[in-house]
């Protein structure tokens, strides 16, 4: 397992890096509006009515943005959770913790792709 993790490290690091960069940059606007402004009524909920939301989300750019917004933060999250585990005495359990976390991110990423494909 350690050998497999070592082989996959460059890919994982790239996904993690984009998770921080692109994930952070996309999540800021998303959380401001979808997470806070619309639920609190600061922005009219009609801005995200189904027709408009579907129309925005289902064009090619919309699908890419939504997929990135969902998947990339998961890789940042998984990688940092892994490091949290290591930093707190978890060096020897890393061969168990890391695959579980990256599997969660992988499943989430596949689900993200499915979610945008079926729009």
């Amino acid at each position: 397992m350690r050998h497999l993790l070592l082989k996959l490290e460059p890919v994982i690091w790239l996904l993690f890096g984009q998770g921080i960069m692109i994930g952070t940059m996309l999540l800021t606007g998303w959380l401001l509006v979808v997470g806070i402004a619309v639920p609190l009524g600061i922005v009219d909920a009609d801005a995200l009515n189904y027709q408009r939301a579907h129309s925005l989300g289902s064009n090619i750019i919309g699908r890419l943005v939504l997929a990135a917004l969902i998947a990339l933060p998961m890789w940042k999250g998984a990688h940092h959770c892994r490091h949290l585990s290591i930093d707190h005495g978890g060096g020897d359990r890393d061969h168990i913790v890391a695959p579980i976390l990256y599997a969660i991110a992988t499943i989430g990423s596949i689900a993200a792709i499915l979610a945008v494909v079926r729009l």
């Binding site: 800021t28 979808v34 806070i36 995200l48 998984a78 989430g108």
Partner: protein, 146 residues
């Protein structure tokens, strides 16, 4: 010292001539301000992982039709969801600020003949991109454009 490090941390390739005491972690951990910031940075990973799944939930619902989509969107109004999203937003800003401060010096000195701009320029450019993307994306979501 704060506590034991990994028992084989910085282990020599072969045992020395005398018995050694096991390695210890620094006494300033975990309460040192820098280590607290670093640990907080790592903890944001939990929020990033969770927000990926809450976003997935909404986008999945978008593919299920108007009734399901509006149900899920309405559920985001629950106080726990609002608190979670607000906390995650704070975490995202914290991550962004720390990451952008560390990003410029991590760039290679050159890729072939191409040299990156000076570090302060990279730093400023990243903030411009972040702010612009946030404003544009928020404006689209809020119905101000498109």
């Amino acid at each position: 010292m704060a506590g034991p490090a990994h028992p084989r941390a910085m282990e020599p390739p072969k045992p020395g001539r005398t018995r050694t005491a096991p390695p210890q972690t620094p006494g300033s951990w975990p309460s040192h301000p820098r280590m607290r910031v670093y640990t907080l940075f790592g903890l944001t990973g939990i929020l990033y992982l969770l927000v990926g799944f809450t976003s997935l939930r909404l986008v999945w619902a978008l593919g299920e039709g108007p009734q399901r989509f509006h149900e899920v969107l309405a559920s985001f109004g629950h106080p726990i969801y609002v608190a979670f999203h607000a906390l995650t937003l704070a975490a995202v800003v914290f991550v962004g600020v720390r990451f952008l401060s560390l990003f410029p010096k991590a760039q290679p000195a050159n890729i072939g003949p191409l040299k990156p701009p000076p570090r302060p320029i990279i730093h400023a450019m990243l903030y411009v991109v972040w702010i612009t993307l946030t404003v544009v994306f928020a404006a689209i979501l809020a119905g101000a454009i498109f």
